[in-house]
């Protein structure tokens, strides 16, 4: 018990999120015999990302919306950070919880800045504090404040709208962020970038994030924990992605994971877990022939042009360098880039789409951290496959004494079970 306390304090310094506890929460719509959500008890640990997945109509969205009481539970209790919020004013509760929906749900008649400022305004922040916060958040979601502050949502791409949606949800620094299929409306490449960005943001802000998705790969990639629901929000399995893939709790889960499980090592291993190569970098304005000789000296194929904040702008190969006089500073949209928290699957995808055998890796705020190559990915798969046999005895992290009553961590379940 005392061990638990110490480790909790150690991580509590960074975590700004709050724990959420659903206790026997039920939602029954009038006129319907079957409950949309039946007696669900769920613990969401502070500072982690919990993904709700399941077939459509399984009650995962209903469960999410009951956390901020957009949907009022018929019975049961919702406890956030130890405080029972079941009966408090719903609007006040929602101002303390970030909420992101598909395509961002931005107000079209307000500028990006006005959209983000909405919650701080309602909370009565002073004006200069709000505008400073807006700029800070736009930076956080990788949008240049000077360029985007005064734009209207219709002038933004789908991915940019989604980013502003996340910025708006984080505006008042809420401990909890709820996301309802946030990346459902964007194309696959943008989706992957947004997912990478969310992970980067999360590593900075350490909120408690609850996210609904129907895409199991997304759940594996983003989730610290995954809750798989069946109809009526019956919890089939609630565990870490690794353990769900290794030990599906039921046939339903097995079917839900589907054939993709064969390539699970690609989805489970992240780019920052493999060894990256250094990149030869340069900045706009440099003499191209100097860079070319450096490149030849180092035996590399590409030089990476970085902007003043260390973000990659484009790659130049030897032929491009020999043709150019001075290094250009324009941004190349087709350059293969993955976030460092992206999965190897994403990295491989990105390389294939760009027909390139390597991709640039970026970390927080899109700063270049290295280069990943096809060979690195292949070696990682081989290494993981060898290690898999040793990994086979993973503990079952599910405690299903009563229906739906589930403890989050198998190891802690023995001790923490009574006190929770």
């Amino acid at each position: 018990m005392s061990e638990n306390k110490i480790s909790e304090n150690a991580v509590a310094q960074n975590i700004t999120g709050a724990s959420i506890m659903l206790e026997e929460v039920t939602k029954t719509y009038p006129g319907q015999k079957k409950s949309a959500v039946g007696g669900l008890t769920l613990e969401i640990p502070a500072g982690s990302i919990v993904m709700f997945v399941g077939p459509s109509g399984c009650g995962k969205t209903t469960t999410l919306k009951m956390i901020n009481r957009l949907i009022e539970p018929t019975s049961g209790k919702i406890v956030i950070d130890g405080e029972d919020v079941t009966d408090m004013n719903g609007d006040e509760l929602r101002r303390r919880i970030g909420y992101v929906i598909q395509a961002g749900g931005l107000f079209p008649h307000m500028t990006v800045a006005a959209n983000i400022a909405m919650v701080p305004k309602m909370l009565g922040w002073p004006k200069d504090k709000i505008s400073a916060r807006v700029d800070e958040l736009l930076e956080l979601v990788s949008l240049d404040p000077d360029l985007y502050r005064n734009r209207f949502p219709k002038k933004l791409s789908g991915g940019q709208q989604q980013r502003v949606g996340v910025a708006r949800a984080l505006a008042a620094d809420p401990p909890v962020l709820l996301m309802d299929e946030p990346f459902g409306a964007v194309d696959p490449i943008t989706r992957q970038r947004l997912q990478d960005e969310l992970l980067n943001i999360q590593s900075e802000v350490q909120k408690t994030i609850v996210c609904v998705t129907h895409d199991f790969d997304e759940a594996v990639k983003l989730g610290d924990w995954i809750a798989i629901f069946n109809e009526g929000a019956q919890l089939e399995q609630y565990d870490s992605p690794e353990r769900i893939l290794a030990n599906p709790a039921s046939e339903f889960v097995e079917n839900f994971i589907g054939s993709g499980a064969g390539l699970k090592q690609l989805t489970l291993t992240r780019v920052n877990e493999v060894e990256l190569e250094d990149a030869l970098t340069t900045t706009p304005g440099k003499n191209a022939s100097d860079v070319l000789s450096q490149l030849q000296g180092a035996g590399r194929k590409y030089a990476v042009v970085l902007d003043s904040r260390g973000r990659p702008l484009r790659r130049l190969d030897r032929r491009q360098l020999s043709r150019a006089q001075i290094i250009e500073g324009t941004y190349d949209e087709n350059m293969p880039v993955v976030g460092e928290q992206a999965t190897l699957n994403d990295a491989l995808d990105t390389m294939l789409v760009a027909s390139s055998e390597s991709a640039l890796v970026t970390g927080r705020r899109d700063v270049l951290t290295g280069v990943i190559t096809v060979q690195t990915v292949m070696e990682a798969i081989a290494a993981a496959n060898n290690a898999e046999d040793a990994d086979h005895e993973a503990p079952v992290g599910l405690n299903s004494g009563a229906i739906n009553v589930v403890d989050i961590d198998g190891a802690a379940a023995g001790q923490g079970g009574e006190s929770a």
Partner: protein, 213 residues
């Protein structure tokens, strides 16, 4: 014709101003009333249907008949004029307000509620501003329509240019009778154009840039 206008220019200007002022004030009143009614009914399908039905049927009532009905309880003068003009002005605005409020994507309302905006705040800061261009179109339709209605209500001794038309018609063939009618009709048309331009300008100023077409 020139003499007719020259001799009565002050009178014509005064009547025009009264006509314009009656229409403008009734439009403001009608806008407030219809937006309030729309806000009360738009969430409910059957109530919205009822309001739309009343709006459609109301437009078929001849304005002249309504004046006749009103003279008994409220008498002659400005009161029946205001009631009739406001009634007709409210109908298209009500219809457009309901359509405008219903056409807002539910996801936008959901995200407004989701970030902690109260029902009232959502209505004032999100729904009405977003429905405003549609409501304003209704106001412009109303403005054109009630310019004519306002001429008719002069029958009940209400103010405005309608007086010229009715006086001219009542002694048709007499001296200056045609001039009188023409003055009234042309005056109403000119006022309608002026008001439409003003409303267009108001639309430009009050429609948020993000939802301008």
């Amino acid at each position: 014709m020139g003499d007719f206008i020259g001799e009565r220019s002050r009178h014509i200007l005064f009547a025009s101003w009264q006509h314009f002022s009656l229409v403008a004030q009734c439009l403001i009143l009608a806008t407030i009333i219809s937006v309030l009614i729309a806000v009360l009914v738009y969430r409910n399908k059957s109530l919205s249907g009822l309001a739309n039905g009343i709006s459609a049927i109301g437009l078929t009532v001849p304005s002249f008949a309504l004046i006749g009905l009103l003279i008994v309880p409220v008498g002659f003068g400005v009161t029946p004029a205001v009631i009739v003009v406001t009634f007709f002005a409210a109908l298209p605005i009500l219809r457009n307000a309901i359509v405008g409020l219903n056409n807002i994507e539910p996801t936008i309302i959901e995200s407004a509620r989701g970030i902690g905006m109260s029902r009232l705040k959502t209505l004032v800061s999100v729904e009405i501003p977003m429905a405003w261009p549609v409501i304003l179109t209704g106001i412009r339709i109303s403005a054109q329509m009630v310019m004519g209605v306002a001429a008719v209500v002069s029958y009940a001794l209400g103010p405005g240019l309608g007086g010229f038309i009715f006086q001219g018609l009542s002694r048709l063939g007499g001296a200056n009778s045609l001039e009188s009618v023409v003055t009234g009709v042309v005056g109403v048309v000119i006022l309608a154009l002026i008001l439409d331009l003003i409303l267009l300008g108001i639309g430009r100023l009050t429609t948020p840039r993000g939802i301008r077409v």
